[in-house]
């Protein structure tokens, strides 16, 4: 019923926005109080960066080249923590029934969760960048890189929330999230890593354009998929 209901809501967009805002505030309030998501993501991300640095004890010259790959892999893994947590929040209180009973298309939940988790991931990304730059003694702060991070993390969260919501309905939901999610991320990962690398280390601008297009395509595709399909995931 996703598309049809969206049509109805163009008249009710205020209500839709209000409900999205309500869920967003609730999630942020919970996070502010418990700090569980950000805390675990932060620790995990830093440990992963460290492990990479040890495992690939890279010569200084190579660190900038490897930065792109290492950072994106770290973000992908750390991201699963927030995805899992955001749906666990609903599952714990069985609040998901509360949301399902609300007089709204469930796309509201999708939008709210995408926004909150994107913010969390972006914050972690900045910290990870800083950590890598610090540990590896490389200069990473680059406007283009930030832009790629924005695009890439957005796509990640879009498909992540979709899959996390599917996953939440399974009894043994924990370990499956990665299994379900990662094969779907390949184009995103390839595009993000290569685009970032080109931005950081210089290279063929046409290639950069191509990768950015792939990223944008991915983001748009899963934005559309999310809006069309999300309702069905929660509706019986």
């Amino acid at each position: 019923m996703g598309l049809l209901s969206i049509k109805v809501y163009w008249g009710d967009e205020m209500k839709f926005l209000k409900a999205t805002w309500a869920i967003l505030c609730k999630d942020l309030l919970t996070e502010k109080r418990t700090f569980v998501t950000m805390g675990s993501m932060l620790v995990f991300a830093l440990i992963v960066i460290l492990i990479f640095m040890f495992a690939f004890d890279l010569a200084v010259g190579l660190r900038k080249e490897a930065a792109s790959g290492i950072i994106w892999v770290t973000l992908c893994f750390a991201g699963t923590l927030s995805l899992d947590r955001t749906m666990a929040l609903e599952r714990d209180a069985e609040g998901i029934d509360g949301l399902r009973l609300a007089p709204f298309d469930h796309t509201v939940v999708f939008v709210a969760k995408v926004l909150t988790n994107w913010v969390y991931l972006l914050i972690i990304a900045v910290i990870v960048l800083a950590a890598y730059a610090l540990f590896g003694n490389v200069m990473l702060f680059n406007g283009g890189f930030f832009a790629i991070i924005l695009l890439g993390t957005f796509g990640y969260i879009l498909i992540g929330i979709l899959v996390a919501t599917l996953n939440m309905q399974i009894k043994s939901h924990g370990p499956l999230l990665s299994v379900l999610l990662f094969p779907l991320l390949i184009p995103l990962l390839l595009a993000a890593v290569n685009a970032s690398s080109l931005v950081l280390n210089g290279g063929d601008p046409a290639g950069l354009r191509t990768w950015v297009n792939v990223l944008i395509g991915y983001d748009l595709l899963f934005l559309a998929a999310g809006i069309l399909l999300y309702d069905k995931i929660l509706d019986e």
Binding site: L4, K18, K26, A102
Partner: protein, 241 residues
């Protein structure tokens, strides 16, 4: 009026509802009685749209629940075994959230009114996770009533509440009925049937096996009917009110 028409529902191998018919009108208070596992929860969930029937339909004032937009859900207030409350937020924050969700201002008078009614004023700033099961249940009732729904569906709402609140909830139910709301509650306790309901429906083997007006029955006749339908299983469940 909520109308369930020939609804069937199965979960995997189990057939829970079989071509069941039921109606609930404004002003009615229906007590849904049945054995454990008979399907009372499934029926309630299907009536408010949380579960969709495999066949048959549920309509509200003639509008099909599955085909009409989500806005129809505004008319339902539901209390289930799960409280639908967020354990890391306070009572007040939970109610404010649900207010916003139902398009009410987050600081509205219903919140203190309901907190007062459920005797939760003292604990209103406490985190829900720290509340006892009974208190959470009361808050859940408050949550259900926030948006002044037309139909109230209560699944085992009386369980876990002490005497004081049992009577308060019963009063609440009666008041809502006078205000022309439709209420359906499921219960094990025949006494509740006679104190709160206008009609009693017995759910057995996936159907409403018996439906009768409370003022035409006595506890004995009801129990007898119940035993007859469930082959005496009720004695094992301590149904005697």
């Amino acid at each position: 009026m909520i109308q369930a028409n020939q609804i069937s529902k199965s979960f995997g191998n189990r057939r829970v509802l079989r071509k069941l018919d039921l109606s609930l009108q404004g002003g009615e208070v229906v007590a849904l009685v049945g054995l454990n596992g008979a399907g009372k929860t499934t029926l309630i969930r299907t009536l408010c749209g949380l579960n969709k029937p495999d066949s048959g339909s549920v309509t509200l004032d003639g509008l099909s629940l599955s085909k009409t937009g989500a806005g129809l859900r505004q008319k339902f207030g539901v209390v289930l075994h799960a409280t639908m409350l967020y354990h890391n937020l306070t009572c007040r924050e939970n109610l404010e959230f649900y207010s916003r969700l139902y398009d009410l201002p987050s600081k509205n008078e219903r919140i203190p009114e309901l907190l007062n009614l459920m005797d939760l004023n003292e604990r209103s700033q406490d985190i829900v996770g720290t509340l006892s099961r009974g208190m959470q249940q009361r808050l859940s009732v408050a949550r259900a009533l926030l948006h002044d729904p037309t139909f109230l569906l209560f699944d085992e709402v009386f369980s876990g509440l002490d005497q004081r609140f049992l009577s308060r909830i019963i009063d609440l139910i009666k008041k809502q009925a006078t205000a022309n709301k439709g209420i359906l509650f499921s219960t094990h306790d025949l006494e509740k049937v006679f104190s709160a309901a206008t009609r009693v429906d017995i759910l057995n083997k996936g159907q409403i096996a018996f439906s009768g007006y409370v003022n035409e029955l006595t506890p004995q006749t009801l129990l007898a009917k119940y035993d007859e339908l469930t082959n005496g299983a009720s004695l094992n469940q301590g149904l005697l009110g």
